[in-house]
């Protein structure tokens, strides 16, 4: 196993750990808004680590850029979706 493979295993495992933590937060946090925090933040870091770990395994420059592109697109969509859901929740139940 080369150094790149070790790096991949470590980074992807760390990423999986954050996905797991995000899911635990989704189950344990008390309300929808706090659950949104758990999902967006932990999963984004999880995906970031998975992408980082897969970069050394990418087939050439185009493959690497594609991985980064996936990461950027997911960041954009999850940031936007989290905000829109939070807005809908806030409208339904105005804060005290």
């Amino acid at each position: 196993m080369s150094a790149a493979d070790v790096f991949t295993v470590v980074a992807v495992s760390a990423g999986a750990f954050f996905f797991l933590a995000g899911s635990v937060g989704l189950l344990r946090f008390p309300d929808s808004l706090t659950r949104l925090h758990a999902l967006t933040k932990a999963d984004n870091l999880g995906l970031g680590l998975v992408v980082l770990g897969l970069l050394p395994q990418a087939s050439g420059l185009l493959g690497g850029l594609k991985l980064l592109g996936v990461w950027v697109l997911v960041q954009l969509s999850s940031a936007t979706a989290a905000q829109v859901i939070a807005q809908a929740l806030g409208r339904r139940r105005p804060p005290p």
């Binding site: 808004l33 706090t34 185009l62 592109g69 954009l76």
Partner: protein, 156 residues
């Protein structure tokens, strides 16, 4: 105007190549997609006086990556700790950014920062920020993030 359109088409085409891969037979479809995407982007996000400052962009990206790591670690720590010390609540923040587009971009971005999630705005444009811990200096850190963001896009 035309320069902007050509630049955006090139950008979308590059993005398409990145996702679909390079196959000569597919290029016309990629080019058509890039042109359509440019048409949509010019309608949805017309060129404005704001300009990215490349050096600020680099430092912003580095800072953003560090912040997303700390956001993920914080949430993971809270979720896995047995006591789960959450103090959720709302903080009202008044954004200083001038353009509306910049404000909504900043909102999307700040939902990825540690412990904060914008949950809409009231009638005078003040942001309602949901926080995992209302005892943190949320307003101060938002002001710092906003200043950094406005330096990058030249909205100051």
């Amino acid at each position: 105007m035309n320069q902007v359109a050509v630049g955006r088409t090139a950008l979308f085409f590059a993005l398409w190549l990145m996702i679909a891969g390079y196959h000569v037979a597919d290029l016309p479809i990629g080019l058509a997609t890039a042109v359509l995407a440019t048409w949509a982007s010019l309608r949805l996000l017309p060129p404005s006086r704001l300009h990215l400052r490349w050096w600020s962009l680099a430092s912003f990206v580095a800072h953003f990556l560090a912040q997303s790591v700390s956001a993920g670690v914080q949430v993971a720590w809270l979720a896995l700790s047995p006591s789960m010390k959450l103090r959720p609540g709302f903080v009202v923040y008044r954004p200083r950014l001038h353009s509306a587009g910049a404000r909504s971009a900043f909102c999307a971005l700040s939902s990825l920062l540690p412990g904060t999630l914008p949950a809409g705005s009231d009638d005078d444009g003040a942001l309602l920020v949901h926080c995992l811990d209302v005892d943190q200096p949320v307003a101060a850190s938002f002001a710092a993030e906003e200043a950094r963001f406005s330096r990058m896009i030249g909205d100051d």
